[in-house]
């Protein structure tokens, strides 16, 4: 028998917490490093074994853990503790509303658990989506932790003004990973809610790491928005429990197969819309995008973790789970339009930003927008595309954040203007950046392929407005990435900057780069052997048809071409006889390609700034109307759902 799945799942959920506890008590750098490396190694090994075992044993869904009174009591205790923690902190910083939100939802759940104890069903459920999520969380999350070890040392080297709270920081990263595992492995709604709350609170603590005024404001913003979503979640659990005696997510989705109209259906839609609302807050869709932008004040590993494999992915994970239940009702309409609008507007705003982390943040929100729209459409093909987008996005975005973090450490700036000529200053990091950026929008990398699938499935499902959002949004997405690529590739005569990226950081960056390319190369296999059966199960259908296999093969061929083109071109270019010449600068080039003589015989330095098109795409112009429209959309949809249910 050997190790069974229950043990592996228990290890996945609990082991990160053990590592967190150990890390809290380790004060020296080396001890911490060994513990973190060891912990990450074990987590990755476990997650891989888990996946291999799952797929070799026929990849059938597994349900486990029937009766768990002790664990339930323990969870209850932790929930109360979290509530007290939030209340204390919100009183200390005079942000009472956060405490109020926390008390109300914890009280709601507590009341439910005490007055209506449920009959015990299984708590954990493993299917292919779970395994995909686990692989993503385990591998990407752990490498971010490895990266963080080297990064944080440099960070405190540069930022002596902040208190060194690394004994607090590293445990939180692992708590985060552990609770993400819990979230995706659970099927019991109360368990999902429990881990949901832990991720909200730990992201709040991580964002407030530096304890500056800005950090505290932003962390409380993240907290209240996520708690608001949590409140929606709690209300949904209560209604589901009282009306249908449903305790599990899979039961909720199954009941949709039987009930397709009438008052009961309307109540089900209300439950789904409340859960989807929670998903929207967590995945930072408009009008809740601001918390994720504010999260940029935290050290880079936090941003990488929040933006790629965890936190925001918890939101879209829930939305994708709910997708079959959102097809063709008010919940789906709300979610898909909010996703579409978010995708378009945030990609426009990203054009006007020059702070690298901000551009990445907007691009995250924007990409999550398409995933959300895919989930909201709720057809087989859109969900297929959504899951694919989620995978590709996790890897490339995590890599981009880490690369920007390393560049910031080496150069002391993360402004895109300062990355002018990065290819000459920090060639290796520049190559990582180029791979990451290309992976985000160019043919034939994963993101574009998934967008292609999304576009096709939106047309098939008749969502023409969403199709238009994608057409316009693709153009704006292309603009901000291309501009950035241009900056990096500018050949300026500049000094070589010392690259102080540690070996641990490089390990993480290289693994991410390999994953980015590897995922694209193996994607036809992933699509046919993992995604198609998964979608069939989710939607109870027999065939899934999104991209034709021949198209997928062409994409892989293109991938080879894309790597071959620069190599061939370089070979051809190197073998062309050419004389070097000075740049044409308009005035007389003074010989260094940087200075020119103007018409008054003065020597002037040339500087080529980027173009941010503020006149057209300014944040001020777009932010409030969008927030207003999206908030109105949510309020109207929920009001409609309540009206239908009553």
């Amino acid at each position: 028998m050997g190790i069974n799945n229950t043990t592996l799942e228990a290890v996945l959920i609990l082991f990160p917490f053990v590592i967190a506890a150990i890390l809290h008590f380790l004060k020296t750098r080396n001890a911490r490093r060994i513990a973190a490396y060891g912990g990450c190694g074990i987590i990755i090994a476990t997650v891989l074994t888990f996946a291999v075992k799952f797929f070799t044993s026929g990849a059938e869904s597994v349900q486990i853990l029937r009766s768990t009174p002790i664990i339930d009591k323990l969870m209850f205790g932790i929930e109360i503790f979290l509530m007290i923690l939030i209340v204390v902190l919100s009183f200390r910083y005079k942000k009472y509303y956060a405490g109020l939100l926390s008390i109300s939802q914890t009280a709601l759940i507590a009341w439910l658990e005490i007055s209506h104890p449920s009959e015990q069903k299984f708590h954990l459920l493993t299917d292919k989506l779970t395994v995909i999520m686990c692989l993503m969380i385990g591998i990407v999350g752990c490498f971010i932790c490895i990266y963080a070890i080297g990064y944080m040392r440099r960070y405190h080297h540069h930022h002596t003004e902040y208190k060194d709270r690394r004994t607090f920081f590293f445990p939180l990263l692992f708590i985060f990973i552990g609770s993400m595992f819990g979230l995706v492995l659970s099927d019991n709604l109360i368990w999902i809610y429990f881990f949901w709350e832990i991720t909200s609170v730990s992201s709040f603590l991580l964002i407030g790491y530096t304890k500056t005024k800005e950090a505290i404001t932003n962390s409380f913003r993240a907290l209240w928005m996520n708690l608001l979503g949590g409140l929606g979640f709690a209300v949904a659990i209560v209604i589901a429990h009282l009306k249908f005696h449903i305790t599990n997510l899979s039961d909720l989705l199954k009941i949709f197969q039987d009930i397709t109209s009438g008052n009961e259906y309307d109540i089900l839609v209300l439950i789904v819309i409340l859960l989807a609302f929670a998903g929207l807050t967590k995945s930072a869709q408009m009008p809740f995008s601001k918390w994720l932008l504010g999260a940029m004040v935290a050290p880079t590993p936090t941003s990488a973790l929040l933006h790629s494999a965890t936190m925001v992915k918890a939101g879209v994970y829930l939305l994708i789970r709910l997708a079959p239940a959102m097809h063709g009702n008010v919940a789906g309409t709300m979610v898909s339009y909010i996703g579409g609008i978010t995708f378009l507007i945030t990609s426009m705003i990203a054009i006007t930003e020059s702070d690298a982390k901000k551009v990445l943040a907007y691009s995250t929100i924007s990409n999550l927008g398409i995933i959300t729209a895919c989930a909201g459409c709720g057809t087989e093909a859109t969900v297929w595309a959504g899951i694919l987008l989620m995978m590709f996005h996790a890897v490339s975005k995590s890599m981009l954040f880490q690369a920007v973090g390393s560049i910031e450490n080496s150069k002391g700036s993360r402004d895109i203007e300062d990355m002018h000529g990065l290819i000459k200053m920090l060639p290796e990091l520049a190559v990582i950046m180029i791979i990451g950026i290309c992976a985000m929008f160019l043919a034939p990398f994963g993101m574009l392929v998934s967008k292609w699938a999304a576009l096709k499935s939106f047309i098939d499902s008749g969502n023409i407005i969403l199709v238009c959002f994608i057409c316009f949004g693709s153009a704006t997405t292309m603009v901000y990435w291309t501009k950035w690529l241009c900056k990096i590739l500018a050949c300026t005569p500049s000094k070589h900057v010392e690259d102080i990226t540690t070996s641990g950081q490089w390990l993480s960056l290289k693994v991410h780069a390999a994953l980015t390319i590897g995922l694209c190369a193996t994607f036809p296999i992933i699509a046919t052997s993992v995604l198609n059966p998964l979608i069939k199960r989710m939607f109870f259908v027999d065939t899934v048809h999104v991209l034709e296999y021949s198209d997928m093969v062409i994409i892989v061929i293109m991938l080879v071409i894309i790597f071959a083109v620069p190599l061939i071109s370089k070979f051809l270019a190197d073998h062309m006889k050419a004389e070097s010449s000075l740049n044409y600068l308009g005035g007389i080039n003074m010989g260094d390609n940087k200075t020119f003589e103007d018409s008054f015989h003065n020597n002037r330095k040339m500087y080529l700034a980027g173009w941010y098109m503020e006149g057209i795409f300014s944040t001020n112009k777009m932010w409030f109307p969008t927030v207003f429209i999206c908030a109105a959309l949510i309020i109207i949809s929920i009001a409609m759902a309540i009206g239908g249910a009553l």
């Binding site: 501009k483 900056k487 740049n583």
Partner: protein, 290 residues
Amino acid sequence: MAIKIISIILYLVLAPIVGGLLNGIDRKITARMQGRIGPSVLQPFYDVYKLIKKDIFRINNMQYMFVWGFFILVVITGVLFFAGEDLLLVFFTLTTAAMFLVLEASTTNTPYSVLGSQREIAQMLSYEPMVLLTAVGFYMATGSFHVSDIIHADVPAIIYLPGVFVGFLFILTIKLRKSPFDISTSHHAHQELVKGITTELSGKMLAMIEITHWYENVFLMGIIALFILHEAWWSIPVALLVIAIAYFLEILIDNTSARVKWDVMFKSSWIVTIVAGVLNIVVLQILLMN
């Protein structure tokens, strides 16, 4: 399969010849419109031949790498198109190719070139939505993204897609670098950016850009033909006629309008995309649903 290979080979061999001739005709007609006699129709070939014989001056190595990349990707775009592959795949490849041209110019780090590349990005921003909507339109009208299926439809796609056709003609002006939207570089000697995006290219490299444009133009004319081509044999001469009219129209616009600023280009092309393209597709969707 055999037809596929033949049409790929025909494209590879004939496209530069046809593209060059199109350019020559363009210059002849332009000259007549301006009251000049104009050069021989074969002049573009003489020009390119002369450029090829010249020495190259280079700013840096990467520049030429990107020019080769641009060339290879544009050719692949055309090959995929004439092999009858997926239209979206074709357009994505074209975008990637355009990116290489932008990168070529910005890697030089010289004022005119970089300004040209930034304006090229603005051009891409302007035409990209309409290009994607064109593919969407074909899919909705014929039920397939594959060029090979689209040309075997029962009725010409333009019947369903008049608005998309108008929108595509509008952005074709940008793609062909015709006035009033020739802001990143121009065929005429009145460009305030010297030669914009190609300022830092010379000799063989400039010749390559020229040949790449020929390939690209033939591909773009192919898209126009796609609106007309269908099962009936007579659609082929009609398609050629429509191409001729469209091309003449572009030349006429080129010679009768003055260059506009980028924001006018951006706004007008997005408005045309919405009014002609989006509206057409929404109406088509409503028709399809009934």
